[in-house]
Symmetry: C2
Subunit: 217 residues, 2 copies
DNA sequence: ATACTAAGTAGTAATTTAATACTAACTTAA
DNA sequence: TTAAGTTAGTATTAAATTACTACTTAGTAT
């Protein structure tokens, strides 16, 4: 049998298949807290409960494309940090049917968020104050938070949570919130020194010495 | 509409679905090299090329269960370190049809490997010597290797690659191979001191001073 | 016995992290 | 207009970790 013949005879609908969905945990830091985007469900199952934005995977899109599409449709956001997290395959995680969920997490600076009218239902909630969510979405958020906490030490993902121009106290605060610990100012600055470049601008207006504004190198 | 009614009316076969498979990268360290289990394919597509062990996900098993089953069926191994790696969703990664692959990686001590007759076709190949593989399996292996390299620094996964009883030179060699760098003996020992416990046994037979045998604490 | 080899330990220099304290530059209120 | 309050930013030092060298130890081989 040649490869041609083989492929022609292959019938992919011979076996029952699970559905595949993408769930997205969009994180930001607002009011000095890690927050995540949630929306109240208006259909069964878990009607009226908060859930992560989600969508089914189309046959004509990759998983990354699907995640980007979902994020864009639900928030209007494009070109923000987006990374696959974990794939959840418990049999009864959705009471309708077998759904395998590929979860993603995304990071966006608070300043960049502009939810339009139609997206008003979706809101950010402080991760620490979240109680029960639909499906296994609490686990997804916890897993995402853990991933961020690990990756912040050996990648630049923290910069995805500040605007293009930022001060060092702002950046340090991001690290402190994600790591959940206080850092030493001088040491922090030494550590990130090679990743940033100063601008001529200063941020004043507070009742204390203004801080210099930096950009990512 | 109540939840009961909703679920009854819900028809999950309304939409076309991708297939979902699990691919497994089983790593070991043999001959001072990181090696991975591969098997020559005997069907289309990619016939006669080397590929990772894989299986389709059954409707009655979770992803983790599926991975465990695949591993057991292909190698007879049970109760070894197994962790989900990444889910691959390129549209044309399989020419037969849309297949989403949830990849796992597993770690086993070389000493524990006993491939039976029927599994003879599957063999370990040094990761550094692998050329072209079927599907996107090279990417999976590279991703797995990277995950291990990161996780070895903040978890105990290295112990999954040595037998229950091991010497410190053996353990250090595992770290050096995975990190691809030489480590300092004294420092290494300080670092892992709280994770190990000495036994009374020594490993001799080499033409030099014998080394003490340790266990994981 | 002596040489050879890797195991294991000691010690020290260099670097990083922990901690404290200071000076600088703004706002506010006396 | 001056002093107090506040945070920005720098300096300094102690403690801990990592980098590196060198030694002692306990086997095997000749």
């Amino acid at each position: 049998m040649t490869e041609q013949e083989f492929l022609k005879n292959y019938n992919s609908s011979d076996y029952e298949k699970p559905s595949v969905a993408v769930d997205i945990a969009l994180f930001t830091i607002r009011d000095n807290q890690l927050q995540v985007l949630l929306k109240k469900r208006n259909t069964h199952p878990f009607v009226n409960m908060l859930a992560l934005p989600a969508t089914f995977v189309g046959m004509d899109e990759t998983l990354d494309e699907c995640a980007q599409r979902a994020l864009y449709q639900k928030t209007g956001l494009q070109n923000i940090y987006l990374e696959q997290l974990y794939t959840w395959g418990e049999i009864d995680r959705d009471p309708r049917m077998r759904i395998i969920s590929v979860s993603y997490y995304a990071l966006v600076p608070d300043s960049q968020i502009q939810l339009s009218e139609s997206e008003q239902e979706a809101k950010f909630y402080p991760v620490d104050e979240i109680k029960t969510l639909a499906f296994d979405h609490e686990k997804i958020i916890a897993y995402g938070r853990e991933r961020i906490r690990n990756k912040i030490n050996y990648t630049d993902i923290a910069f995805s949570l500040v605007p293009e121009e930022f001060t060092l106290p702002q950046l340090q605060k991001i690290y402190e919130i994600l790591l959940n610990q206080k850092l030493y100012k001088a040491n922090f600055r030494k550590k990130i020194a090679d990743k940033i470049q100063p601008t001529e601008k200063m941020l004043s207006g507070n009742k204390h010495r203004p801080s210099r504004i930096y950009k990512k190198k």
